[in-house]
Symmetry: C2
Amino acid sequence: MWKKCLTLSVGNRSFLIVKNLFAGTRRFGELRMSLHGISPKTLTACLRSLESHGILTREVIPTIPPEVRYTLTEKGMDLQNVVNQMKIWGEKWSER
Amino acid sequence: MWKKCLTLSVGNRSFLIVKNLFAGTRRFGELRMSLHGISPKTLTACLRSLESHGILTREVIPTIPPEVRYTLTEKGMDLQNVVNQMKIWGEKWSER
DNA sequence: CGGAATCCCCCATGATACTG
DNA sequence: CAGTATCATGGGGGATTCCG
């Protein structure tokens, strides 16, 4: 059921994370900045949830200091249609 | 900002309510049944929120017993594009 | 019938500090 | 840098009862 696509979110921040990843791979800290002060705990929870749903992949580069890259999967990239429609709707109806 | 379209929700049940209203006007009790046991308090909160965002209208018919009709506005109907994309995405990627 | 009122629980989220 | 650990909290949501 399509309803499942709603349950993927740990809050609706997940959409914001996905939106940020459309532009390409991002690191933990970069995402944290983009979400204006989300706590690391919450960000981790969101990312883990998205990963478990196959929306994105988590790649650990074992360097010092460590580097972790988050990248959308094909399934995640496919969410662009959904997000685009949200964007269109928002632009059309905001400020009316 | 398109981000506003995310804040309209009191939980993501709002999407389910909107989905139900695409088919036409619904009464309070009908919506309550469709959302499989949502508490009246929560349903009311969702509906009030959607109403305040101009997604739907609330029409009270002063009969006994009372009848209240919820109908999508043009703005609300426009959400079909968003929901359709969610549906498409969900059907494409569920069970994979 | 369509809520409003009340009580209560639980979890998502924040803030902060610490670690490999 | 990328988390984990811990503590605290607010409000989303349920269950129930009452009312016009």
